[in-house]
């Protein structure tokens, strides 16, 4: 019986953000899809596929800031399932610009309060490290293309995927 080749089990998750790094990731695939497609087992990526499974992952790429309790719970679950968690883009790394409202004055906070209450927003928008440990960061708005490629190569090496 031929043993199936080991692949890098990854997830790509998005919280509150503009998804610029998701778009950039799809553009990086223009040059790398043939190289990476045979090496990756994409467990969860809403933007790419319908059949998503939230189970153990080697690497979880997480884009966006946390705006709700639901986001926090989901991130904690991702953390327990992933060996490595990578914060992708400025919102995941520093909470901005998704955390615009953290800087609003009292008058503006009052103005938006009916909506933050209706949709159960957190009192403050959080970066990933406010909630879980992060193993690597890809800062930038969007992330830097070369840093992403470098990180992917490093992860493939770390998990001995060839």
């Amino acid at each position: 019986m031929v043993q199936e080749k080991k692949k890098l089990r990854i997830g790509w998750f998005t919280f509150s953000c503009c998804e610029d790094s998701t778009v950039l990731m799809t553009e990086i695939l223009n040059d790398h899809w043939q190289e990476w497609a045979p090496l990756l087992d994409i467990r969860h990526a809403r933007v790419l596929q319908k059949e998503n499974i939230l189970d153990s992952m080697d690497v979880a790429f997480v884009e966006g800031a946390l705006a709700s309790e639901e986001h926090i719970e989901k991130l904690k679950e991702i953390r327990t399932l992933a060996t490595k968690v990578v914060a992708v883009g400025a919102c995941a790394c520093i909470g901005m610009p998704s955390g615009n409202r953290n800087q609003f004055d009292d008058h503006t906070q009052e103005e938006i309060s009916f909506l933050t209450a209706r949709f159960s927003h957190l009192p403050k928008v959080l970066k990933l490290e406010d909630v879980v440990a992060v193993d690597a960061k890809l800062p930038g708005c969007p992330m830097n293309e070369q840093q992403f490629i470098h990180l992917m190569k490093a992860m493939l090496q770390t998990f001995r995927i060839t």
């Binding site: 998005t14 509150s16 953000c17 503009c18 998804e19 610029d20 790094s21 998701t22 778009v23 950039l24 799809t26 553009e27 695939l29 223009n30 040059d31 899809w33 497609a37 994409i42 809403r46 933007v47 790419l48 596929q49 319908k50 059949e51 998503n52 705006a67 709700s68 986001h71 610009p97 998704s98 615009n100 409202r101 800087q103 609003f104 008058h107 503006t108 009052e110 103005e111 938006i112 009916f114 909506l115 209706r118 949709f119 927003h121 708005c141 969007p142």
Partner: protein
């Protein structure tokens, strides 16, 4: 009569931009309610823009959306230029057109291949296509080659395809070199046959969902994503600055985004509207080589939004090649802004339809307030209405399998190519201040 009771929930729509959900309630074979909710959390850009310098505004507002970022960037720049009384040079106008072409090539190709093509091939995702299947082999290679060409064009002209760095108020901080121009012309010419194959694929696609609605888009002397007046298929003609006066803001309580009606009617914006309204203005080479596909318009088949996007990719390539061949770019200094209290309005055709930015600045160039209306907000009511009609038709035709109904719903939503990141990241608010107490209405 099929007296089924069914509750169906799609918690997380896949293969779309951003997060959305749908709740359906069917009782005794009748669709009682469909709620299409945009579940992205608001980021309050209409509040965040206040107090910022106008010179920083376009880059801030580009962050509303990753995929449409260069459309937000150019729309905000146009609004700021109008507020400051700046008229861009002819070269700047060409660079803006090229920026929009790069965006549309990249964005439409992403939608048509990575989101829609799996439904054409009954596959879960595009990366699972089989390289040994001749059709899927071509699709894989075509997709990434076309996307790369659009990406490359945007990089050369705007600095990046996402949040471009070169476009600024009054001009571009860098212009393409001759070497860059020649390299992108070659790349665009190389992918052109691939785009013709894409058009043929969607021309032959037999998906059908006919509906009557009003189509709205910008119209100029050429097929433009930047200039012109706003027209409808019902004969209306509206100047950019008057557009918002005709819009009615519709509260959708279960959605984090706003809906809109125009003169109390639902309407559609986007590629289908644009091709319906202006197909005779497409580039001559596009009209020649996509003749049979273009002949299908004007169309009331919502799935023809996919075909219209494919046609627009070809137009963007053809017109970009002409502009690049006929322009010698030279660096131009940016005009120095003279601040004054003023209002500026920008309207552009983003990939998904008309995008509106308004900015009000004080005499120091500081933003006092502004407003943004995005395409998906304008299409949101139609999407929900169409889902209800679609599900009822399926039930009336004995389709009672949840998975099949869900699959058809997702196909139809994807045809609109909604962008939830755009739709949910601003807040339209009407407020009344009485006796120093702030209350809110009509949200």
């Amino acid at each position: 009569m099929h007296l089924i009771d069914l509750d169906l929930t799609i918690d997380e729509m896949t293969k779309v931009e951003g997060a959305a959900s749908v709740d359906v309630k069917i009782r005794s074979g009748v669709v009682e309610s469909v709620k299409f909710g945009i579940t992205e959390y608001k980021r309050f850009y209409t509040q965040a823009m206040r107090g910022k310098s106008i010179t920083a505004l376009p880059q801030l507002l580009a962050r509303i959306c990753g995929t449409c970022s260069n459309a937000h960037l150019l729309c905000s720049i146009e609004a700021c230029e109008h507020a400051l009384g700046i008229t861009p040079s002819p070269q700047t106008q060409i660079l803006k057109r090229l920026t929009m072409y790069g965006l549309n090539i990249r964005d439409h190709a992403l939608h048509l291949y990575l989101f829609v093509a799996p439904d054409l091939r009954n596959k879960d995702n595009f990366l699972s296509f089989d390289e040994h299947d001749p059709i899927e082999h071509d699709m894989l290679h075509d997709a990434f080659a076309i996307k790369a060409a659009g990406n490359h064009l945007a990089q050369i002209v705007a600095g990046r395809s996402v949040h471009g760095m070169y476009p600024a108020i009054g001009g571009f901080t860098k212009t393409p070199t001759q070497q860059e121009t020649q390299s992108i012309i070659k790349q665009l010419q190389e992918v052109r046959p691939r785009v013709l194959r894409l058009i043929k694929t969607f021309e032959q696609c037999d998906w059908k969902f006919d509906r009557t609605t009003k189509y709205m888009g910008m119209s100029a002397d050429h097929y433009s994503f930047l200039e012109g007046v706003i027209i409808s298929d019902t004969g209306q003609r509206i100047e950019e600055q008057d557009y918002h006066n005709h819009l009615e803001h519709v509260v959708i309580p279960y959605s984090q985004a706003s809906g809109y009606k125009h003169d109390n009617e639902c309407y559609m914006v986007g590629a289908l509207a644009r091709v319906n309204l202006s197909k005779e203005k497409l580039h001559p080479n596009t009209k020649k080589d996509a003749n049979s596909a273009i002949a299908l318009f004007p169309s009331t088949n919502i799935y023809h939004n996919n075909l219209a996007q494919a046609i627009e990719i070809l137009h963007c390539i053809d017109d970009a090649i002409d502009l690049l061949n006929n322009t010698q770019f030279k660096q131009e200094p940016l005009p120095k802004p003279v601040f004054r209290e003023a209002m500026g309005i920008g309207v552009v055709e983003a990939p998904r339809g008309m995008l509106y930015h308004r900015v009000h600045i004080d005499d120091n160039g500081i933003v006092m307030e502004g407003d943004i209306v995005v395409p998906t907000g304008q299409n949101q009511i139609n999407i929900e209405q169409d889902l209800k009609t679609l599900i009822q038709r399926l039930i009336d035709n004995d389709v009672e399998n949840k998975h099949e109904i869900q699959h058809e719903m997702e196909k139809l939503i994807r045809a609109y190519d909604p962008c939830m990141s755009c739709a949910s990241h601003f807040l339209k608010i009407n407020w009344i201040e009485k006796n120093n107490i702030l209350t809110f209405s009509s949200l």
